[in-house]
């Protein structure tokens, strides 16, 4: 087993040049579990562990890969709600169940070791721990396969959600603000992507003109794309199509951030099968090639990130990705940035200059035709906003668009390259897929 702290796999610096494994790594399988609002605490076939096994088996079956062929397992082993995880913070210790559910592993947490044992994967030689997010996991998988640490690797991203309101427990229930929170929580900042982006968003509206509700066409379209995603929460729970009227009349959370600017926490898992280009050619699916992966972790100057910083960071992230992929903005057909809070997507759209959108132009772009049938199918996945907080829709859609298996979401424009991310402007990562390796 290789520990990630010793394995220098990240591409997180400026000026690294074209990725050395460009086109030599491919994704050959994708699997999704059902997407539930919560685990009910009793259904053993709906635990996060059961759903992760299901997702893995679907991805392996799609690729036509047997358990013996799996050499790498990368699984996020932290609870998505973190240290402020609502009732999850008080979940353990408690009475457990019969094996394999005789600890928290498999119930509300999943790790590689638990999966390897439960799925009886005999030949795994690469199973790192402490890989916290899907963006890091897919980057690590691509690099590990390219470097030869494993030839066929499962990436599993479970997202848990338990009873009680999301992130309303733990440190958020504390009367004291410790560590980094001493600079934020006394004034009301509970921490997270909402706060990271809502202040720069306010500055954005002041600098470029426009108002918060100019996000409405984007959010409504995300929900539309979500309803076109068969596995997503909205499509499987008959969530009605969001309208502009619904959006502009929805209640505020962090005014001007509205309810519908936020995603819906869910209990689900997804798996992706990475392998070498050579092996992928013999698998069931047409391979989708990895053209680059990149990460970033930019340090803010002060208490709150401001617009200048966020524009600089997204410019730099775009430059890293384009340089490593050997591509430019005009080469990217599918663009699936992270949308886990609506007001951040504009920063990515403009930083990456997708379809020529420059700084300050996002709201006008949103007001145009961004449907999947149209000329600018922005976020064709529907993202978190349209599918629930799986943080995986961006990756699955990008792969399906290039395979031309996106069904009702299939874009009408060219689909030969795709960019996907789970990232904030300050930290996270991007991955570029290609229909061909060159």
């Amino acid at each position: 087993m290789t520990a990630p702290d010793r394995y220098q796999w990240r591409r997180d610096k400026d000026g690294l040049g074209v990725w050395e494994h460009r086109g030599k790594v491919a994704v050959a399988g994708v699997g999704h579990s059902p997407v539930d609002r919560r685990w009910d605490g009793v259904s053993m076939d709906k635990t996060l562990g059961a759903y992760s096994i299901l997702a893995c088996r679907k991805a392996m079956d799609e690729a036509g890969v047997s358990p013996e062929q799996i050499e790498g397992v990368i699984c996020c082993d932290s609870h998505i709600a973190g240290g402020s995880g609502g009732s999850a913070s008080q979940w353990a210790p408690r009475p457990y169940f019969a094996p394999p559910y005789d600890s928290e592993w498999g119930l509300t947490l999943v790790n590689a070791q638990w999966l390897i044992e439960e799925m009886r994967l005999p030949n795994v030689k690469f199973a790192p721990t402490g890989v916290p997010t899907i963006s890091e996991m897919v980057g690590m998988a691509a690099q590990a396969v390219g470097d030869g640490l494993c030839h066929t690797c499962l990436v599993i991203y479970p997202t848990g959600n338990l009873e009680g309101r999301y992130r309303r427990g733990g440190e958020n229930a504390d009367d004291y603000a410790r560590g980094a929170r001493q600079w934020t929580a006394p004034w009301g900042n509970h921490g997270g992507n909402d706060f990271i982006n809502i202040f720069p968003h306010g500055q954005y509206c002041l600098k470029y003109g426009g108002k918060h509700d100019d996000l409405a066409p984007f959010v409504v379209n995300q929900h539309r794309n979500g309803l076109l995603t068969p596995w997503g929460y909205n499509a499987t729970h008959q969530v009605p199509q969001l309208t502009t009227e619904d959006y502009v009349n929805s209640r505020y959370i962090l005014n001007p951030l509205r309810l519908w600017d936020c995603d819906r926490p869910v209990n689900a898992s997804a798996a992706y099968l990475f392998t070498t280009t050579e092996r992928a050619r013999d698998m069931r699916q047409s391979p989708v090639y990895v053209l680059n992966h990149s990460q970033h972790n930019f340090r803010k100057r002060s208490t709150q990130e401001d617009l200048d910083e966020i524009e600089d960071w997204t410019d730099r992230a775009a430059k890293r990705m384009y340089e490593g992929a050997g591509l430019g903005p005009k080469d990217v057909d599918i663009f699936n940035p992270y949308d886990g809070y609506a007001p951040m997507a504009q920063f990515f759209l403009e930083g990456f200059q997708w379809h020529g959108v420059k700084r300050g132009d996002a709201f006008a772009f949103y007001a145009g035709d961004i449907r999947v049938e149209g000329p600018h199918p922005f976020c064709s996945s529907g993202g978190n906003l349209g599918n629930g907080r799986t943080r995986t829709a961006m990756y699955t859609d990008s792969i399906e668009q290039l395979r031309r298996t996106a069904g009702a979401r299939q874009v009408r424009v060219r689909a030969e390259t795709a960019l996907a991310a789970f990232t904030t402007p300050s930290s996270g990562g991007w991955i570029m897929f290609g229909k061909s390796p060159g």
Partner: protein, 136 residues
């Protein structure tokens, strides 16, 4: 208005000691001539701890932007909702910013761009925090 109570640590103790004396003192790197807040182990520009000292600064700033927290996640602050949360830039170096609930300014009425001055508010016995009030 029960606010969360900051817990000073070895790095932040000089800052909070100053606040408890109703002074605003920030880290200053003599080599880079830069202020930094929140405090860090080293200068974020030159990455050296050698030039860092504490420097008292004039508590004057401006409101860059603000939000109103209507449904936050902090139990202790829920009775206060809705309340302003402003991003205040320091006049001495606008790259330095602070949060403020803008005491005295009603929710939704924060004047973006207005001048503010530091004030201090007790959140627990012997523990003040720095706040910012719109200059009349």
């Amino acid at each position: 208005m029960p606010k969360l109570i900051p817990v000073p640590d070895s790095l932040s103790k000089p800052f909070w000691d100053a606040v408890n004396q109703r002074r605003l003192a920030l880290q200053h790197c003599a080599q880079c001539d830069r202020l930094q807040y929140p405090p860090q182990q080293a200068c974020q520009v030159c990455n050296s701890p050698a030039g860092l000292t504490w420097k008292e600064v004039e508590g004057r700033g401006h409101i860059a932007t603000y939000i109103v927290i209507e449904d936050g996640r902090l139990n202790r602050r829920m009775p206060d909702q809705p309340y302003n949360l402003a991003m205040v830039t320091l006049d001495a170096d606008p790259r330095v910013n602070f949060y403020s609930n803008l005491p005295g300014t009603p929710p939704y009425k924060a004047p973006v761009g207005a001048a503010v001055e530091v004030t201090f508010e007790e959140v627990a016995p012997d523990q003040l925090i720095h706040e910012w009030r719109v200059v009349a």
